[in-house]
Amino acid sequence: MATTTFSIDASEIRRQFPFFQPHPEMRSLIYLDNAATTQKPYSVIEAVSNFWAHHNANVHRGGHGAGAKASELYEAARQRVAQFLNAREPAEIVFTRGTTEAINLVASSWGEAFVKAGDEVIITEMEHHANLLPWMRLAEKQGATLKVWRITDDGRLNLDDLRTLLTERTRLVAVVHISNVLGVVNPVAEICRLAHDAGALCLVDAAQSVAHMPVDVQAIDCDFLMFSGHKAYGPTGIGALYAKRSLLEAMPPYQVGGGIVKTVSWERLVWSEPPAKFEAGTPPIGEAVGLHAALDFIDSIGRATIEAYEHELTRYALERLQEVPGLRLFGPTPDRAGIFAFMLEDIHPHDIATVLDARDIAIRSGLHCAHPLGARLGGSTARASLAVYNDTAHIDALIEGLHEVRKVFGYV
């Protein structure tokens, strides 16, 4: 191990995060729960504070220069997201609270308008509840059929299985880009191609991918893609939905209220153009400014660089996890993202997490909001997940901690 040199000096990156600075009242943490949420760099925190302090005003409503400036910052954030995802134009980006809201928006607005009785929606067995429950509900509401694309025993999706599932009644394939449990990186471009060949649309849940690898919506050729700011070094309360413009134009509004109509009278109503049509009410303005700064942070390192570094770290982690007796890791190896869900002997994952927490190592345990997948894997798992500020020392600490867990529960 010792001879590997890594492409990033993570300690340099941690210096950009207040969370990792010594604090008189807080224990300093080895944070390995990045799939749940990432920490925030100073640049993001300051961009948000600075907005509240000096530029705060409501957007899109005539009157004064401060409002125009706030609108400009808000629209600049939209443009930044469009560029980040390589969308064709900013109007293809709708701001939402996060991934969950974005998928709900698509399932309600597009789904209720375009999925009819007898139609089919395909989702995978590894979906997070965010990409599962909206489709279960839609299928029930519309009398449509929800088809489940099962995973292989090593935690992958087999494209041949999809070919079998697709029919002329299939309207949508909804798939996660990187599984928040298995760490598998799904071949979304191929999946979109197969869906399109069958006349279906394709939705990609990119919650776990955008902060860890380059994501290009035109290269993937997906119809919908969404992510959450808080998993990409940004604030909570903001996320983005990408959708092809023609779809946004055809879809009815989701939430309704101020800002989404050109004119309303008791008799007549004219909707605004997208994306305004989908952003009823005062949007998360300060949060959009924070997301803008978060994407700048990511690109200041470079997504290809981040991907390569996390890949090196993942290889290191995979080797070291093998050293722990009785540890069963889920998902494919060695090609995978830095998300490691595992079981250890018969020790309950919650107990694993507690012993690690007492050693100031933060991991997560449970079903990770993917209950059907949990059932397939045999129950709860412990999960460690990486971000660009982690390094081998963190993985070493995790391994040492797991040995301690074994000891506490009498495995020696």
């Binding site: 409503r61 005539g62 409002g67 125009a68 400009e72 800002g259 109509v261 050109k262 004119t263 605004s272």
Partner: protein
């Protein structure tokens, strides 16, 4: 500072709008809204032999949007679609500050350049022009 915005020529078009009214059918009608301030411009136009043979506007709005519509109807009447298109692009670029306005080509309309320093007013100045663009798009 607002002398630049509220030039005499603008206030004059506002108080004495040219081309205000409606046309008898046959005609193309196109509505334009600025929802944030409630401005509304409704264009009536007639196309003959590839030209805008007649054009009127009604609706309501602020001095800038009304003056802009008034100047526009004067400027595009009789123009070919291609000429109208080119003019629209020139005006939009000028108003957004992306290009200087050419007084020879634009005449009075250069007065609209004053909105550049009032970002909230840009939409007022462009409303009529965007509406015309939309009307021509859907007519062809």
């Amino acid at each position: 500072m607002f002398d630049e915005l509220y030039q005499e020529i603008i206030l004059d078009h506002y108080r004495h709008p040219r081309g205000r009214g409606e046309l008898e059918p046959p005609k193309i009608t196109q509505e334009g809204f600025n929802p944030s301030c409630g401005d509304e411009v409704i264009l009536d136009l007639r196309l003959e032999d590839g030209r805008i043979s007649d054009i009127r506007f009604h609706g309501r709005g602020c001095s800038i949007s009304q003056a802009s519509a008034s100047m526009m109807t004067e400027a595009v009447k009789g123009k070919t679609l291609a000429e109208a298109h080119a003019l629209i692009q020139q005006v939009l670029a000028m108003v957004k500050g992306e290009a200087e306005g050419d007084p020879d080509a634009l005449g009075d309309i250069v007065a609209l350049a004053g909105v550049r320093n009032f970002p909230v007013r840009v939409k007022c100045a462009t409303l009529a022009w965007h509406t015309l663009e939309e009307a021509l798009r859907s007519a062809t």
